[in-house]
């Protein structure tokens, strides 16, 4: 089956300017060669610490940022070459749900207009038909039809996130990016939203890119998982395989950090020491070596490549050669 979205070797470096003339003094290597693909009906979880570049990946896929190098293909077509009508079609097929349900809804816009905006700007519906479709969409995400004439501040965090989901799904996209959709919510509300998102995927076959720093949430949501560290993917595998046997030391450290409910199974934890190095001055060799518990001589010399260790399970580490 062909991938709905395919990212190939995405690179995005942000120049850091300084001085009066805005000289480029350095580059922040936010995304430094990331490839993945997402198929229909599948969720790819993208997990990593804050500042590892996962949100930038989301923005690149959404075409909100242009990659310095590499390409994003939607159903085999490079999105950078799209203009006009084809670009509109792309916009309506790739949608996004953002993290903060307070900032992601315009406080001065009625729910009707917020949710209906993707229809309106793509000229898919207007007037009574638009209202009808907004109402149907609200019902689908578990809100009330009467909510169309309300403002965002009248809703709770969970309801707002439902509005955000309704806005993303109203054009019937094939691919949806979720950028930390639940990190601003209470745990109980989180579960409701996550289950809604899953249920909608089961019903409509959306492809999801699910970005989160919460390994537990990603495990619950994803079919496959990619672990990001400082702008690159260090390990990628099917969800079960990754949780059964994490290969990369970074992934293992992340999993050790998950709370273990059973005291008997709690082990000595190898937690990560130190901070994430600056993405401006990357360490030489493997980016993870300053924090890695299993660091070897070669790690400081050469960056490991992402290679298949087991079928369908790839890791970028010198331990597996």
């Amino acid at each position: 089956m062909g991938a709905v979205v395919e990212a190939q070797n995405l690179i995005k470096h942000f120049p850091i300017r300084s001085g009066f003339l805005g000289r480029r003094v350095a580059y922040l290597k936010a995304v430094d060669g990331v490839s993945f693909s997402v198929e229909r009906g599948e969720t790819l979880g993208l997990v990593g610490e804050s500042g590892c570049g996962k949100t930038t990946v989301g923005h690149l896929v959404l075409n909100l940022l242009t990659p310095d190098r590499g390409s994003v293909r939607f159903k085999g077509v490079d999105v950078r070459h799209l203009r006009g009508k084809a670009l509109r079609a792309l916009r309506r097929n790739i949608q996004v749900v953002f993290q903060d349900p307070h900032s992601s809804l315009d406080p001065r816009m009625l729910v009707k207009k917020t949710v209906g905006a993707p229809l309106a700007v793509n000229r898919l519906a207007r007037g009574a038909e638009l209202v009808q479709r907004v109402k149907a969409m609200l019902a689908e995400v578990g809100l009330n039809e009467e909510h169309v004439y309300r403002y965002p501040h009248e809703f709770s965090g969970g309801q707002r996130q439902r509005i955000g989901i309704a806005r993303a799904l109203i054009t019937g996209p094939e691919f949806v990016v979720f950028d930390e959709p639940t990190s601003a919510l209470d745990v109980s509300v989180q579960a409701q939203i996550l289950n809604l998102v899953k249920e909608l995927q089961r019903r409509h076959g959306y492809a999801y890119l699910f970005i989160s720093h919460d390994l537990g949430v990603v495990k619950h949501m994803s079919h496959r998982i990619a672990v990001m560290y400082l702008g690159i993917i260090v390990e990628t595998a099917a969800s079960d395989s990754l949780f059964a046997a994490p290969l990369h030391p970074y992934t293992r450290a992340l999993m050790n950090a998950l709370p273990e409910p059973d005291p008997a199974r709690r082990t000595m934890r190898a937690l990560l020491a130190g901070d994430v190095p600056s993405p401006v001055h990357l360490p030489p060799g493997c980016r993870f070596h300053p924090r890695c518990p299993e660091v070897q001589g070669i790690c400081t010399q050469r960056a490991p490549e992402l290679r298949e260790v087991k079928p369908g399970h790839r890791a970028a580490c010198h331990l597996y050669r």
């Binding site: 923005h59 075409n63 900032s103 992601s104 001065r108 905006a117 993707p118 793509n122 309300r150 993303a168």
Partner: protein, 310 residues
């Protein structure tokens, strides 16, 4: 017959008009509540009440001038030249025997009209320029803002004078000149707000769903700047009236026999030594009106600014 109508307004079948009204109320429930809340806050603020009373009084006077004014504002009556206040002429008469109270009342129409027109033009253009400039950013923003800085670097009255003189003395040209001078004040403020709004996630969401820059500016950026524009507009209105009166005073605004406050002072100045009432009453009205708009604008800013509010 009347009974039937009353019945139709009751519980049973409701006429269509009511349903439309209900729909309107439901759709704008939040605005209506917000407006009620604002009105209550303003009502608790003494300077807002005072400012509002002055503005309302001036507007009422301007609207009712044809009904309330005792005389014709431009009818010359040489027998009644320069009469002191009292009797039939409460504010006295001018050198052509025209009643000054009447002319002051009609003058309110012109001054308020100038103020409203200028604020609508300058506020509208300034808000759009500022929003587009702030949203698009980069070179376009630099260019627009430097142009605005140039305009702002002149004292408003001096620039308005130069423009009005270049366009030729008439009321409409004075309006255009003052509006032009006021545009940067709105543009600067709205640009600042646009820079903040631009970073919000709903802008990224709109971009991701295919909205163009103009759509975003119109539907997201401008509505979020509206309350500040209203506040600034109220403050600018007072200043505008003052500048317009100044232009008329030096002969670049309203032309005789139009009863404009500034023009009246200009002529009355010559009689100030012996006939104090001629220039004084229009001057008092300018003063009171400008103060009214300023204190109301200040109070409105306090109420609309959520940081001060809650």
């Amino acid at each position: 017959m009347a009974g039937e109508r009353i019945g139709a307004w009751g519980r049973g079948k409701r006429p269509l008009r009511i349903n439309v009204f209900d729909e309107f109320r439901r759709q704008y429930a939040w605005q209506i509540r917000e407006l009620g809340f604002m009105v209550r806050l303003l009502g608790r603020n003494p300077s807002a009440v005072a400012g509002f009373a002055i503005i309302a009084g001036m507007v009422a006077m301007a609207l009712a001038a044809p009904v309330l004014a005792p005389f014709n504002p431009i009818q010359i009556s040489l027998g009644d030249r320069l009469l002191p206040p009292g009797g039939a002429h409460w504010f006295g008469t001018d050198e052509l025997g025209r009643d000054i109270l009447t002319r002051v009342m009609y003058g309110a129409r012109i001054s308020l009209w100038i103020g409203v027109i200028v604020v609508v033009i300058a506020g509208g253009l300034g808000a759009v320029i500022g929003a587009v400039s702030g949203y698009l950013g980069r070179r376009f923003d630099d260019l627009i803002m430097r142009v605005m800085d140039v305009i702002l670097s002149f004292p408003p009255l001096v620039l308005a004078m130069a423009l009005a003189a270049a366009l030729g003395p008439s009321l409409n040209n004075a309006i255009l000149a003052v509006a032009f001078v006021m545009i940067p004040k709105f543009a600067r403020m709205v640009r600042g707000e646009a820079l903040a709004v631009k970073e919000k996630q709903f802008i990224a969401a709109a971009r991701a769903s295919g909205a163009g820059s103009l759509w975003i500016v119109w539907h997201h950026v401008l509505p979020n700047c509206l309350s500040s524009v209203i506040v600034l507009g109220t403050l600018i209105l007072g200043e505008t009236i003052l500048i317009a009166a100044s232009l008329s005073f030096i002969g670049l605004g309203a032309q005789p026999p139009t009863p404009e406050w500034g023009a009246m002072i200009s002529v009355g100045r010559k009689f100030l030594m012996d006939q104090w009432w001629y220039a004084t009453f229009p001057g008092v009205f300018i003063l009171v009106t400008v103060i009214g708009f300023n204190i109301f604008g200040d109070a409105l800013r306090d109420v609309l600014d959520p940081r001060i509010r809650r």
